[in-house]
């Protein structure tokens, strides 16, 4: 019996037995998601995780429920899970883990253990890890891909050595163009390209970029990259290589599907501080820096509230300038009032915000939030549509009723 027959056979067996599992639906899902996504989304707990919103289980793509964003640090067991390819090493297979650092623009090749990584100076950074495709499912028109709602993101305190200190062990030669990153997870079929990504040298050498072994004071969860992942504050999560096993300093730009075809935005549509010249072309740029954004975690759409009032709560973030202001609206964006900002956890972190309404008249309201960063950038009024559904920072429209 080959693999296909086995799959078909198992599917048949499951059908014959009949689905017995009760379906556990999320507390809230955006009505803007495709109908099929809303039907598919189910709450389910992976090993070591609370129940997250399962979109797919092979490979696993599970998003964090919106109510988790009432606090600026996302607990490890509520942190989203995202894989492109389904061959994921188990924990016991990662116990002999080592990291090879070399490449044609390195002086030498070195192999580092987890203890070796812990021997470097340890840095800590609170940073938002957000999938490039977060909110793809809200794109108008819809575009193909994993149809994420709001929860393909989280904020954690990451700890580990600076990438530049790790690179120094191998020695960076003049003429280095990019740092190539590989992880232990891979494709089911040998014909599928392995997932590798690259960073431009100046970002790779930036102080904030680390090889994290700790997340919120604990070892990385298995499905968030145990035992070590690259943390690239300010940039979308496609660069945050999980289970990182290979770091190559290269004199040449990386060329594969994941950098040349995927993860790209129309050139110039989303301005960045730090370009990626070795991967830019006339028509498209790689997606890199996040856009200023915010999410209201509470109340959710359809909530029924009382005249005693309620507090609008959520988080805001950007690409590393830090959040200057968050405003909220109760009339769908016609008028705005400033929200109170929570503690500043650093320029790459979630910034909590809250707005207590006080006593409020009965009626229908539409809640929105709008963040502005320290560079003066504000969330857009209308979607900057792009074919992969990236960088959607249109304020939410959350209908609630006060009765």
């Amino acid at each position: 019996m080959n693999r296909r027959q086995m799959l078909t056979g198992l599917g048949g067996a499951a059908l014959a037995a009949g689905p017995a599992r009760a379906v556990d639906k999320p507390f809230w899902l955006s009505p803007q998601l495709p109908a099929g996504t809303r039907e598919e989304a189910t709450l389910e707990a992976l090993p070591g995780k609370q129940k997250l919103i399962r979109l797919t289980d092979r490979p696993p793509n599970y998003e964090t429920p919106i109510e988790s964003f009432r606090t600026p640090i996302t607990p490890n067991d509520e942190f989203f899970v995202r894989y492109h390819l389904a061959d994921i090493p188990l924990m016991d297979q990662l116990n002999g883990w080592s990291l090879t650092v070399g490449g044609d623009a390195a002086e030498r090749q070195v192999t580092l253990s987890l203890d070796d990584l812990r021997g470097f100076e340890q840095m800590e950074v609170a940073a938002v890890c957000q999938c490039s495709g977060n909110r793809r499912g809200l794109s108008t028109p819809h575009v193909p891909g994993v149809e994420w709602g709001y929860g393909a993101m989280g904020n954690a305190v990451w700890r580990g050595p600076r990438l530049k200190d790790v690179l120094a062990k191998a020695g960076v030669k003049a003429g280095a163009a990019e740092v190539w990153l590989n992880g232990a997870d891979g494709p089911v079929l040998p014909t599928t390209p392995d997932f590798l990504k690259s960073l431009p040298m100046d970002k790779a050498m930036a102080d904030e970029v680390i090889v994290a072994t700790m997340m919120n004071g604990q070892p990385l969860p298995h499905l968030n990259g145990y035992p070590a992942r690259i943390v690239v504050p300010g940039w979308t999560a496609t660069y945050w290589m999980k289970h990182v096993t290979g770091i190559q300093v290269s004199s040449k730009p990386l060329e594969n599907f994941w950098v040349k075809a995927a993860y790209r935005v129309p050139a110039g549509m989303f301005p960045v501080d730090r370009p990626f010249p070795t991967q830019d072309n006339e028509k498209t740029w790689p997606i890199t820096e996040m856009v200023v954004n915010s999410v209201i975690a509470d109340p959710v759409g359809g909530a029924r509230l009382t005249a005693a009032g309620f507090t609008i709560e959520g988080v805001a973030w950007d690409r590393g300038h830090g959040i200057r202001q968050v405003e909220v609206s109760l009339d769908g964006g016609k008028s705005w009032k400033p929200a109170a900002l929570g503690k500043d956890l650093g320029r790459f972190a979630f910034r909590a915000f809250s707005f207590p309404t006080g006593r409020i008249e009965a009626g229908n309201y539409v809640l929105s939030s709008r963040a502005t960063n320290n560079a003066g950038e504000t969330q857009v009024d209308t979607l900057k549509f792009n074919p992969a559904g990236y960088h959607n920072n249109v304020p939410q429209q959350i209908p609630v009723t006060v009765a």
């Binding site: 799959l7 067996a13 996504t37 389910e44 389904a86 994921i88 494709p187 079929l189 599928t192 599907f257």
Partner: protein, 93 residues
């Protein structure tokens, strides 16, 4: 794959035994056998119903050329036809 299978057995949902059911239609068996080799069929249901037949065709082409799926021309035609008839919206006129 076998490594992930082991992972799935640890979780509440064994991946393959729980493979979702696709809508009936000609070619469904080819779709299930071809697509489920690398990923759950949830990808199809999640991406519905909003893609046009042309976009489904492009997705199948991407699976073959970019992801190296071993699907021959005949199977690809069957898959595109099935997806276009069961999980697609009408093409824009």
């Amino acid at each position: 794959m076998f490594r992930y299978l082991a992972l799935a057995l640890l979780s509440a949902a064994p991946a393959l035994a729980d493979e979702p059911t696709l809508k009936p239609g000609p070619g469904r068996d080819v779709v299930q056998a071809s697509c489920a080799t690398c990923h759950t069929l949830s990808y199809i249901r999640m991406n519905s119903v909003f893609l046009t037949p042309d976009v489904w065709k492009a997705e199948v082409a991407k699976m073959r050329t970019a992801f190296g799926a071993p699907i021959d021309d005949s199977a690809a035609d069957t898959i595109v036809k099935y997806l276009s008839e069961t999980y697609a919206t009408a093409p824009k006129s």
